[in-house]
Symmetry: C2
Subunit: 309 residues, 2 copies
Amino acid sequence: MNARYVGIDIGGTGIKAGLCDTSGALLAVHEVATPPQRGVVDVLDAIAHAAKTAAGETWDDVAGIGLGMAGFLDIPKGIVRFSANFPQWIDVPIGAQIAHRTNKPVLVNNDANVAVLGEAWSGAGKGYDHVVLFTLGTGVGGGIIAHGRLVEGAHGMAGELGHIVVRHEHGALCGCGQYGCVETIASATGIVRLVREAIAQGAHTTLREVTAKAVFAATDDALCARVIAEVTDALAQAMAAIAVVVNPQRLIVGGGVSLAGDALLEPLREAFARKTPAAVREGVDIVPAMLGTTAGVIGAAGLHVHGRA
Amino acid sequence: MNARYVGIDIGGTGIKAGLCDTSGALLAVHEVATPPQRGVVDVLDAIAHAAKTAAGETWDDVAGIGLGMAGFLDIPKGIVRFSANFPQWIDVPIGAQIAHRTNKPVLVNNDANVAVLGEAWSGAGKGYDHVVLFTLGTGVGGGIIAHGRLVEGAHGMAGELGHIVVRHEHGALCGCGQYGCVETIASATGIVRLVREAIAQGAHTTLREVTAKAVFAATDDALCARVIAEVTDALAQAMAAIAVVVNPQRLIVGGGVSLAGDALLEPLREAFARKTPAAVREGVDIVPAMLGTTAGVIGAAGLHVHGRA
């Protein structure tokens, strides 16, 4: 049988459905705007409709549907406890509801976990059983695959890589309530903060706008060079901790900040080599994510292949 | 069938074999001195003999043998690449050799991994699928169980918890070549170093001997109180990193330093609560190891129940 899987990325602005084969190849994508009121029934109907539209005439071959979304989820039960994108939802059994509407088995997981699953199945981690993804966006997220399986943790909270503390003195306050988390430095928000603080303290810069993208593009700016060194040092510190804890083969860097490419990756690799004990440093590559915004739908589809046993 | 498993803890001074049932209960132990020359054939013979002696008349019921030892091992192949306890051994296929001598399936793993497996199967982590062990001895070691399975990593190097960096400024040099690893602070060696350095800088103390045990027993000594605060702060920092990465249910503290009991655990729990984001802090207990020096034989036996799929 040519089994197919549908993965759905449920966001605040759009609902994207992707059709995958058993190897993780993306065969079709269908995206619709999230219903404007974000009511439960409207969104559930839109999800089911997007799944069927993406599959088209291969719908009968679809062996399962995976859902990925941001929020606090009860993963085993497929229940949305709370999601900032759908603030009026409380304890919505989204897995059971979509299964009822589609007559297919449904698995649910959070956006960070499905992203690493997508990259491991079909992207920059393809062919490896031990893969870690750092997503550098507004915040820093992540996910871990160990022995070919998603590490979800006791309550689905594993892989909160942005909250590894990398500055024990003079650390900035993080949204999580701790000080010095890597998210306070290596996120787009953190990079902008570092530049603004330096300017406030009198540092000179040629930057015309303060964005993470501009910082990595400013090759001759001494302040930006200092900030890039600080960002890659902090991120390498978090990666070194991950390396001694889970001994991965691939450290994948995704998210908007990663679009800086080698301007980020080259100093990051140097800092990682400096900060990581030899035994866990060898055989680890730091590589860019490959799937971009399709990692979510591919990984959600992959929940049926690589998810819980 | 009343299946039995034999686990063997292969050390530089002794070879200990334990007989377990399928629930992880330890039914019998047999220990012999490690052959003085530590030659390969002598040690292999001693291991096989210890296994048979521990099992006694239930030998026919033994469904597998597990071996645990310190060193650099090729775990999937059961080969000892290098072990400090057996310096003349190079690439010894210990798994195949013991299988040949006993006609039983043999699994091999390192001492830290079998210790966490023992505690998870039959000790302080019994009944939990997400368990982390910190072993505080001369160094700091550890191991991780996620989703009921040992996390070994790509090359068996996962769980090197002693090398999580917790001091990014003013960190002491660690044996691994990095600075500020938790091992430099929360090991018996680290505790003694902290006291000695403070004394060298003129601090007063009532201690008559500088040992980790004496530090935790010196309830009215201001220097010891400062050192205990530093040790528990550093260890809590490493535990917080583990909590956000793997979201465990039980953080187990074993090894010689853990014999300090509540003098260690109470400030450790307070520091962990202060340093860990709420989402991964709740539902985590920090508890003492239960199995003591039998964790190794029990966990080695458990490799056949909880080890690689």
